[in-house]
């Protein structure tokens, strides 16, 4: 499903973000990615949708080596992988609904049928009553939930969440986790980078821990600390 083989990534400024990382995530798995700030979690996520390329090693997504695909094939990959970005990446000029619709419009998939998906996604993150607000009119948590709605609207088979609860209170964080669990139960593979100790400790799912760009722990039913 998602396989990294001996992946190393050095940014142009010389930072070694990932160092010989190998891991395998099966279809329909739910995996937490933990590790201190700067460990390389976001970098790992960016490799999966070919937002960046490794300096060495291979990254397989659904049996395709995405480090080897051509430019023309990148959109196909990205339509299979929904990403919740740590910094949301919302468009300030668009309303919540328009931000979510934007995903479908960008691929020419927006129509009467898929506009229902938008309503459903907004309902799932409990933002239906904020649909016409613009990002600057939203709280941090509401912005984060907009980003979640945008990532799930296309119903991708792979959902990658980069710190999706970073700005949420206790109750909303748990709502978000429930949502991801539900999406996972519906058949999606979910990879979630997080610093939320309580959630990881309570959920007891598979935990992959990285530190200084290396995998230091890969444990089924693990907690936040080893």
């Amino acid at each position: 499903m998602i396989v990294l083989q001996n992946v190393s990534k050095v940014y142009p400024n010389g930072t070694r973000a990932l160092d010989d990382v190998s891991l395998q995530i099966e279809e329909r798995e739910f995996v937490f990615l933990v590790g201190p700030s700067g460990a390389g979690k976001t970098t790992l996520i960016r490799l999966i949708n070919r937002d960046t390329s490794p300096d060495s090693g291979n990254v397989f997504v659904e049996n395709t080596d995405v480090t080897r695909i051509s430019r023309r094939e990148i959109p196909k990959l990205r339509r299979r992988v929904g990403v919740i970005y740590q910094d949301y990446k919302l468009l300030p000029g668009l309303s919540v609904r328009q931000n979510v619709e934007f995903v479908l419009k960008s691929t020419g998939e927006f129509n009467g049928r898929t506009s229902k998906w938008v309503d459903e996604a907004l309902a799932l993150v409990q933002l239906s009553d904020r649909a016409d607000h613009h990002p600057h009119e939203l709280s941090g948590g509401e912005q984060q939930r907009t980003a979640i709605a945008r990532a799930i609207v296309r119903r991708c088979p792979i959902l990658v969440a980069d710190e999706p609860t970073g700005n949420l209170d206790h109750a909303t964080s748990w709502d978000t986790i429930q949502l991801l669990v539900r999406i996972n139960a519906l058949g999606a593979t979910v990879l979630m980078a997080t610093h939320n100790r309580e959630i990881v400790d309570t959920m007891r799912r598979r935990v992959i821990e990285i530190a200084n760009g290396k995998v230091v722990r890969d444990e089924l039913g693990g907690g936040y600390d080893g």
Partner: protein, 297 residues
């Protein structure tokens, strides 16, 4: 199918929105393109007129080669047949001594019989050339002058033709240089407009790419914007051209009716169509260059 229509609608909508958001730049680019194209049209009209003049004057100014009285007629016929095959030569006519005398008589001595006075016909026969392309006249004249056994002398009204040909050449060179410069300016302005449009939408573009938009879906609106600028500029230029034609052509034709200035309807229509096409192409190329350069998709 509906997906394709969706894409088309999106691309067109985004293009129009982009043009509107960026309307000051858009207007500037449209005006620049229009100015460039009006100049192009003016140059083409002038050039066409000059060419017509050269041709027309060339037609009137025959080359006349006077045949020696002792030249063999078969040799003259041979030369005439050869001349007819030459490029640029329109018509080759033989004027006999009798014809020459008759023409002379008609012109100067309408009433009297010159032969009676002169006892014999002193006028030579001649070979007259009507040219399609007067530019080849000088070389041809030199060649015939070399045939001293056949021709007494060769007369060419060279000066006017040569001067016109050289004016036409200068005008063509100057016009071409101007068109190249103006096209470069129009390309630059359009490319720059699109660059700014790309910059204004860089956030949108980043997200579109991250959620799986194809390269052409991202590029499309920008290319359409450039093509649209070119098209509108060209339409303005074409309208200006037609207005100028309607206003100015009758006056010019009246003032210098002896010159074959290109003012006929079909010429103006073709020119207008050509200009619109040039505008479209320049707009598309300008935006494509910018998109390739600044969009990295």
């Amino acid at each position: 199918m509906t997906a394709k229509l969706n894409v088309l609608r999106y691309v067109l909508g985004a293009a129009m929105l982009g043009l509107w958001r960026n309307r000051t730049m858009t207007l500037g680019a449209v005006v620049t393109t229009a100015v460039m194209l009006v100049t192009l049209a003016a140059f083409l009209a002038i050039n066409d007129t000059l060419n017509e003049m050269v041709t027309a004057l060339g037609r009137k100014s025959n080359l006349i080669a006077y045949v020696r009285d002792d030249a063999r007629p078969s040799r003259v016929t041979e030369i005439m047949q050869d001349l007819e095959q030459r490029p640029g030569v329109g018509e080759v006519v033989f004027v006999t001594k009798e014809d020459a005398l008759r023409i002379f008589q008609e012109r100067f001595f309408d009433q009297r019989d010159v032969i009676d006075i002169l006892q014999a016909n002193p006028l030579p026969a001649s070979v007259e050339l009507r040219m399609d392309d007067p530019a080849v006249l000088p070389a041809l004249a030199d060649e015939l002058r070399g045939m001293t056994g056949v021709f007494e002398s060769v007369a060419v009204p060279l000066d006017v033709v040569e001067r016109l040909v050289s004016i036409s050449n200068v005008s063509r060179a100057a016009g071409t240089a101007m068109i190249v410069a103006l096209t470069a300016v129009a390309l630059f302005v359009i490319a720059n407009t699109i660059r700014i449009a790309v910059y204004a939408r860089r956030q949108e573009i980043e997200i579109m790419k991250l959620v799986g938009a194809t390269d052409w879906f991202v590029r499309g609106p920008f290319i359409i914007e450039g093509a649209f600028i070119g098209l509108v500029g060209a339409t303005l230029a074409a309208v200006a051209l037609v207005v100028m034609y309607l206003q100015v052509a009758p006056t010019i034709t009246r003032l210098i009716s002896f010159l074959p200035i290109a003012t006929d309807v079909s010429f103006v229509r073709n020119l207008a169509v050509f200009i619109v096409l040039v505008g479209l192409v320049v707009g598309s190329i300008g935006s494509y260059v910018s998109v390739r350069r600044y969009l990295a998709v």
